[in-house]
């Protein structure tokens, strides 16, 4: 031991920091269409390679290619485009509303729209998402009213959550959207529990857990994988790898090597990596994983490779920790642009119709906002009542809370 060399701590760092030139040459991206598609009931041990590659459908020329292509018809793909555009327009307006002081906080999903929008369409009514704060696309694609989302964001008198929750922490059982917590990772094991309940009851509903790359480090990620594998729970365990966790790059959560998807292998859970900016690929993989769950074949881990284009939240300024141009250099492109080009290539869409729809969607979002603002924004107009603060802690208000409400004079 005495002649051993001194040890040293190895702290991973991203390739570049502000001032540097973005460099994604280290990201290994296979050509679209080249990754095989196993049967859903194939043995997980036989396709571990799918946890180390990237399933892609849309190639550079905007064509859908390979064994994962063909899952959607044109109308469905068009719907996907519209969903994504609506999410983006919604984000832009709400960001502005926050800057105008109409709410305290907002979080965009810029660049990641394909993931939640496509996934939602692969689900069936009755299924349940356990989302993070960055899956607003699940609600938008699922037809949840924009105005209700906005009322929540504004904490106004029509806020479905009665002002209790931080903006964007939506909840809608009817739309298969579990109440967002704010504490990272907790929802992942809850999704597994919900799925187990469906199996216990002999129902046919499945669950989807959602987690960010950074949050895979949380312990409840492990709990979820353990429980899901042990009971073969009908759940899809989604990991959205958008490269960043606030200021921290994904290498801190991922460690030395391996992929987030590969974490499933240690549990015998089949694990796929997919191009998160490719709507068609996301849909195809989601459908595959959901079918496995539905057929009682157990859980699937899916890692979506994408990039968080915007700031983490309105409280964050990413120029402090990564080059401004990094998002432009991101090699998987923009999900809306890519699907648009595909549809134009297929002759079912055009630049004109795109511009027209963009204007329509802009108007729809604006109208919703006007509607929502009639009921107040955070600091002006209609507010949830103070009584509401005391309600809902328990089903029936216990004596001590009643006393406190009286003290508060409401």
């Amino acid at each position: 031991m005495s002649d051993s060399i001194p040890l040293s701590l190895q702290v991973p760092e991203p390739e570049v920091r502000p001032g540097g030139k973005p460099d994604f040459s280290g990201v290994n991206i296979p050509r679209a269409g080249t990754v095989r598609r196993p049967d859903v009931d194939a043995s997980p041990a036989d396709f571990r390679d799918l946890g180390y590659t990237i399933i892609r459908v849309l190639n550079r020329d905007g064509e859908a290619v390979g064994p994962w292509a063909g899952a959607l018809n044109d109308e469905q793909a068009l719907q996907g485009l519209r969903d994504m555009m609506k999410v983006r327009a919604f984000d832009a307006r709400m960001l502005m509303a926050q800057r105008q002081g109409k709410t305290s906080f907002y979080m965009q999903c810029l660049g990641e729209e394909a993931i939640s929008c496509a996934f939602q369409h692969a689900l069936s009514p009755g299924d349940m998402n356990f989302p993070t704060y960055r899956q607003q696309g699940l609600l938008v694609a699922g037809g949840y009213p924009l105005v209700d989302m906005m009322c929540q964001i504004f904490s106004n008198e029509r806020d479905p959550l009665h002002g209790r929750q931080l903006p964007v922490m939506y909840s809608s059982k009817d739309h298969g959207f579990f109440s967002i917590s704010g504490n990272l990772g907790t929802q992942y094991i809850q999704a597994v529990g919900w799925a187990m309940a469906s199996a216990i009851k002999g129902d046919t509903r499945i669950a989807a857990g959602w987690i960010g790359d950074g949050s895979t480090a949380e312990s409840d990620f492990h709990a979820a994988l353990v429980f899901a594998s042990t009971y073969k729970a009908p759940v899809v365990l989604n990991i959205v790898n958008n490269q960043w966790a606030i200021s921290t790059f994904q290498g801190i959560a991922r460690g030395g090597s391996g992929t987030f998807a590969a974490r499933g292998h240690g549990f015998g859970i089949p694990s796929l990596r997919v191009d998160g900016n490719d709507y068609l690929a996301v849909y195809a993989v989601a459908q595959w994983a959901i079918e496995r769950a539905r057929r009682n074949l157990g859980p699937t881990v899916v890692e979506y490779v994408t990039y968080r284009v915007a700031a983490h939240s309105t409280s964050d300024d990413p120029s402090a920790y990564r080059p401004k141009e990094e998002s432009d250099a991101w090699p998987l492109g923009d999900p809306i642009e890519r699907l648009k080009n595909y549809l134009i290539g297929k002759g079912v869409w055009s630049d004109d119709r795109h511009a027209q729809f963009a204007a329509e969607v802009e108007a729809e979002v604006l109208a919703a906002q006007k509607d929502a603002e009639k009921h107040g924004t955070l600091h002006s107009g209609g507010k949830p009542s103070v009584r509401d603060m005391f309600e809902g802690v328990y089903k029936d208000m216990p004596p001590h809370l009643r006393r406190q409400r009286q003290q508060a004079g409401v």
Binding site: P160, Q190, A197, A224, K395, P398
Partner: protein
């Protein structure tokens, strides 16, 4: 009426609710085939099948988190944490999730689950088989916290907890599992069969949450206790001959403040007892409430008898445990002046 130990009563409560409601499921470490390290779930898997009662991986956060998801689905999970000392890894799922789900979703989702766990000392279990963490739950809005002191209450309270629409922390004083315990560890163990509260009705009944009971009426001083300490306090009253009124709180939250203030207003003196460490224990809340509501009746400061502010020791267990001697001294002291 059948005679039951507290273990049997707890098991029976699960049996009754599982038979009545297919949404009740039971799981936890070693609770399935084996029936739990204290045998509280024995026979349930055999009776209700592996998807209603099963073994869980050793991950308390996973057990509680999965239960939250199941409860949100519509089930009524009743999960076991093997010892209360092991609940901390699952504390986040209790505090941030189960306790707040109804509130934050405005009732869109709820978490009607029961978390059972053996608590308290007196079995030479050392620091990790003896703790009494109730105060860590009573501080959390959205939870109910229950501590039975006998088989009759244990069954009735557990049924009420499982049927309750909010998350309930159900703490089982393990030293009471097989018999009442008056703190005299050097005397032979009395079985529940010899105690009136070992008479446990068959079938369904509830003991309502939020209601305390006077175990020993008295006029001189009020003793507030729960769990094992109810029996120790009764013994201390007998042994000192002080006419103490011993109140068994049964539910710590919501608390039955009326029963407490009625008694203290009458006696003018109050001793609070618990096994948990003194500082920031639930006794502090009791003192705060009693002095607030009975200030003008109090003739002496409220006294607390509690575990010392140290980890739970192994060899010095009986010096740590608030036994009849320490409680008796507090009673005598409460009567002076």
């Amino acid at each position: 009426m059948p005679r039951m130990t507290m273990i049997e009563a707890i098991r029976d409560a699960m049996h009754v609710t599982m038979a009545q409601d297919p949404n009740v499921v039971v799981f936890g470490e070693d609770v399935g085939y084996f029936g739990g390290v204290f045998r509280c779930t024995q026979g349930l898997q055999q009776k209700f099948g592996r998807s209603r009662c099963f073994d869980a991986p050793i991950n308390e956060s996973g057990i509680i988190g999965a239960a939250v998801g199941m409860a949100a689905y519509g089930l009524r999970p009743c999960v076991e944490i093997q010892f209360a000392d092991y609940v901390y890894p699952g504390y986040d799922q209790i505090v941030s999730e189960a306790a707040r789900l109804r509130y934050r979703s405005n009732g869109d989702f709820t978490a009607p689950l029961t978390i059972r766990m053996p608590t308290g000392g007196g079995i030479h279990g050392g620091q990790t088989h003896s703790q009494s963490p109730e105060a860590l739950f009573t501080h959390v809005s959205g939870l109910k916290t229950v501590v039975p002191s006998n088989p009759y209450d244990a069954k009735g309270l557990l049924i009420a907890s499982i049927e309750d629409d909010d998350p309930v922390i159900f703490l089982e004083p393990k030293r009471l599992y097989n018999g009442p315990f008056d703190g005299h560890h050097d005397r032979p163990v009395t079985p529940w069969a010899k105690h009136p509260l070992g008479d446990v009705p068959e079938g369904h009944y509830t003991v309502p949450l939020g209601k305390a009971v006077v175990r020993r009426p008295g006029k001189a001083v009020t003793v507030l206790a729960y769990g094992t300490m109810v029996h120790v306090a009764e013994a201390a009253a007998e042994e000192t001959g002080i006419d103490a009124e011993v109140i068994d709180l049964r539910t710590l939250l919501p608390l039955d403040l009326d029963t407490i203030t009625t008694s203290v207003t009458k006696t003018g003196r109050c001793v609070v007892v618990h096994e948990a460490t003194l500082t920031s224990g639930f006794g502090a809340e009791l003192c705060a409430l009693v002095q607030e509501h009975c200030f003008y009746s109090l003739e002496k400061p409220i006294a607390r008898v509690a575990g010392w502010d140290t980890p739970y020791p192994h060899a010095q267990e009986w010096d740590y445990f608030p036994g009849p001697k320490r409680i008796g001294e507090a009673l005598i002291n409460a009567m002076e002046g």
